[in-house]
Subunit: 194 residues, 2 copies
């Protein structure tokens, strides 16, 4: 058990020992529930055939929801990003999960991302009653995230769809004094009318 637990991110050997000890002494019942919950999730969870987010059926919760706005598509790197965006509850459109970023240095090429399905989906979404108008390239503001957004922008060019990128600037509660120079430069350049 300790061996397997240490394979989880942020779990070292000490934590693993403590967790395993708890599971096999006082927490026996919970440990059994945990084991079956993991097995069940693994057997039921697949990827949405439309957007590649986690799903239990053919379509995920977002894609099967008819109230979602089909005019905006938000392209993200990984399923966890969909989760945090949904939690911020400001986005009502659809998602597309790339399952990777373009990273020549690490040998990750466009073929490893869900790029072809994205392109054909975009063409399909343009035929909807509320046709696709904007694609938000919501990859992280890291080097690989920026490179991927640039790459996608080239691929999606000429389809007559607006492309946008998440705003860069000060985070909530951010003090100027502690902001890095690049972030400050973005915050200044992207300033908005009051």
């Amino acid at each position: 058990v300790v061996n397997e637990l240490t394979k989880l991110p942020t779990v070292g050997e000490k934590t693993a020992l403590r967790l395993a000890y708890h599971m096999l002494t006082r927490g026996k019942k919970d440990a059994a529930s945990l084991a079956s919950a993991i097995s069940e999730a693994l057997s039921r969870l697949t990827l949405c055939q439309e957007c590649f987010y986690f799903a239990e059926e053919h379509l995920c919760e977002v894609c099967s929801d008819p109230s979602r706005d089909t005019r905006t598509l938000c392209v993200v790197e990984k399923p966890a990003d969909v989760l945090v965006l949904e939690r911020s509850s400001t986005f009502t459109g659809l998602y597309h999960v790339l399952h990777g970023l373009w990273s020549p240095l690490r040998g990750v090429r466009p073929e490893h991302m869900t790029l072809d399905p994205l392109l054909s989906r975009v063409r399909r979404l343009k035929q909807e009653t509320a046709p696709l108008r904007e694609i938000i390239l919501a990859t992280s503001t890291t080097v690989e995230g920026d490179a991927t957004a640039l790459f996608l922008a080239q691929e999606l060019e000429g389809l007559g769809i607006e492309l946008s990128r998440l705003a860069q600037g000060l985070p909530k509660g951010g003090e100027l004094e502690y902001a890095d120079e690049v972030t400050l430069a973005h915050a200044l350049q992207g300033r908005r009318g009051f």
Copy 2:
């Protein structure tokens, strides 16, 4: 010496002891230079009569530089903010240091900020050959920073000058997964065309 050192931010008793020990043994010469540097800075440093940033003469380095753009004024909370903005080298306009934020809860009222000098300076800057066109309310994105910006916006209303606020969004190198919900909401709302 230890007593005085612990009054500095981020210096605890252990650090103070270590610093003091170094100063009074191997670092005697440097310690003497440090002492005289502090005394000299204290005696020479005043506040700029225009913008209230640190200055050694009547005017600070920014205000006495004729190449600065008099059409944009960036209002910040404290001198350190001018320093970080200058280091990001994207801003070529003038500054105004408030020396405080409006904080009713902590009893800090508008009179404690350099508000009156700001208002009269704005009126003067409108008469320049390159007249003032935009004021960037660059206070932090904290509750007090936002409240101060709102308050200033009311005071500066009706002068025919554009008011703006720094962009809020993902910091540089920011991963979606680790961003808080409010920041993500701002990043989405403030998204920019590619």
